[in-house]
Assembly symmetry: C2
Homo-oligomer: 361 residues x 2
DNA sequence: ACGCTTTATGAAAACGATTACGTTGTCGCC
DNA sequence: GGCGACAACGTAATCGTTTTCATAAAGCGT
């Protein structure tokens, strides 16, 4: 059961190793029948080329690396799913390194991937241009996800946080609310910043006389809960609240429920991300949906394009659209959908196909 | 900016490549000062050994592969998190291939990993002993997760589905319900089978005169919803319902709410998995928690042990305990916890740390 | 001083593939 | 019939490491 090498195949087929290589890879330079015979022998011996040996000479690993922060839940799964599917379709392998906290951590991981990958997918908010310059050799192409980096050396793929927030604020205002309060995310988070910008722009456009109203938050449920209580203490209570992400919106919702405030009757509420929980809280949360699997997929495809002709492939910047999902909490003229069982819209984002511990049937 | 090899380091340091290799790896066989000089030169040139070349000769890739089915949501993330953290701690890389549906698909993926990994972590319900024999060379050690396979060739690591279900049924019965109805999972799913067995055993033990009552399900919300309606149509309604997973319990809960049936007043309800949604439905769902990150972690550690001495490391079977989480839906003598914000128990399973699209702050 | 063990070091052989370059043989064409 | 082109195939170099083996220097006991 010793590993069978190309030599064994060659000997068995009565040819040289060169011919075996040609028959199995390029196809040219060998007669059709010799090629067939070689292939037969190869399968009979169940020969599988040694990946390391091959990539030593071809300088290709057919592997792409994904550097991800300490992500949780649906976001992580969907992202990987998108990446993995696209990668498999292209015959690429996926080397994952997740759960990074801090730049030093990410740098180590990035360096550890040196030479093991042909390209990188990077999602991290402590990654900037300087970081990349010193930790990523120029020779390995990379696609940055949701990054503020603007460089023509790297391709960047962002979710349209700005547009999504803008659209949601417009939606709330057009539903009749005269103002919108925004619960912000972490100050150093790129997504959070963009969402706030979208909020400000939409307010300026559709409610130019209403005051801008931003309270601090950090993307956690607890922060939303505190913000909710805080807002209820105001003399004229806000009419509508837009949280920078769903978890804060959920926290806020519980604060409102606890105080006996009706949503959306007394206050309208909306979040951002469309995490699965959003559909299950009572009442169901209006939010902005992000097609995360698509994000992963297109990131990989962009990287693959860069890999194919690293010469004249210009690393470009793209943005992925969001869509607003009007459920119960935003009030207004929504349709009276009771509860979405087995959601009809076949978006990959909303994955309540989740099974037990062991996977699908 | 051409890649710097060991030769460059050797020339620059005025030694042979052998010494460089020794200085950087074993440490023995070189003077302390030469070793230091070599290390200095190496860092100065920012030399990083070519992984392929190295593993060509050492026959080690320092990479482990993870073969996963088409998982969604929290389960997937937590599993990978656990694996990844443990892997990093051991200096191992993680090659992921997920989203497999069907045995053929899994076989292809498994074969594609040939030679790229030192060991495999496998979670898939269409993987059995025969499958492994024909698709996995005996030389590569593997750990099977949640698998029915009983073989001394492979290590198996299971969640204690049986024990968890048993404990939950006992809990329900001891809370005063005279019987429990079970909503089963897919017939061919190993977890589902074990959970049903646990249900049956607990019933036999603690309610020997109550009839066993199992209705079909498939782990999806929709099935739980249908089962819920179906159960309400019974003449004496069931007193307590235990669903084989949380998604079905949630579907069932919505069916009850729709019919105006009070939970837990009229009917008690419980699920399995403790998915994040469980905490957010109204009322919060009682369930059985599975420490998924721990599952991944110990799987990797077991594999690492196998890797270190493949000789006399006996691939053993282990089981990971569950814990029951009594929230509102199961009635009984639970404490009146209003809502768990920022959960105190620092379990890695309940990850509402989830952020926006861009990761943590 | 002299042999003998220890130790640092270098030269060279692996590892398993791809591929540039020869070599042969066959065919076509003048 | 000879000459050149081309196709099929083999030989050997190559990729960047690790590791065995040889060699030289140095320490050490007598």
């Amino acid at each position: 059961m010793a590993t069978v090498t190309i030599k064994d195949v060659a000997r068995e087929a009565g040819v040289s190793v060169a011919s075996v290589s040609r028959a199995l890879n390029s196809g040219g330079g060998v007669t059709a029948e010799t090629a067939q015979r070689i292939r037969d022998v190869a399968t009979r011996l169940s020969y599988v080329p040694h990946a390391a040996a091959r990539s030593l000479i071809t300088r290709r690993t057919h592997t792409i690396g994904a550097l991800l922060p300490d992500l949780h839940g649906e976001f992580f799964s969907e992202l990987i799913r998108g990446i993995d599917q696209a990668a498999r379709a292209r015959g690429l392998h996926l080397l994952v390194s997740s759960s990074h906290d801090g730049a030093a951590d990410a740098a180590t991981a990035l360096r550890a991937m040196q030479g093991r990958v042909d390209g990188m997918l990077i999602l991290s908010n402590h990654v900037d241009a300087a970081f990349l310059r010193s930790n990523l050799p120029a020779s390995v192409p990379a696609v940055l996800l949701n990054s503020a980096v603007k460089s023509k050396s790297y391709a960047v793929l962002n979710v349209d946080n700005y547009g999504g927030a803008y659209a949601m604020v417009r939606h709330l205002l057009q539903a009749g609310h005269s103002g919108v309060t925004f619960i912000a995310g972490p100050a150093d988070n790129f997504d959070a910043q963009q969402r706030e910008l979208g909020y400000r722009a939409a307010m300026a456009k559709y409610a130019p006389h209403a005051p801008l109203d931003v309270v601090a938050g950090d993307f956690n449920e607890e922060a939303g809960y505190r913000a909710g209580h805080q807002l209820l203490a105001r003399k004229p209570r806000p009419q509508a609240v837009f949280a920078a992400n769903d978890m804060m919106a959920v926290g806020c919702l519980y604060a409102f429920k606890e105080a006996g405030v009706d949503v959306p009757g007394d206050i309208a509420l909306a979040g951002f991300d469309d995490i699965p929980i959003a559909r299950y809280v009572t009442p169901p949360l209006s939010t902005v949906r992000v097609r995360i699997a698509d994000l992963g997929r297109s990131a990989l495809e962009q990287l693959a394009a860069l890999l194919e002709d690293s010469k004249h492939a210009t690393p470009s910047s793209h943005t992925l659209a969001c869509e607003i999902v009007a459920r119960a909490t935003c009030g207004g003229d929504r349709q009276a959908a009771p509860h979405e069982h087995a959601p009809k819209n076949a978006v990959s984002t909303s994955g309540n196909r989740s099974s037990g511990t062991g996977g699908k049937a």
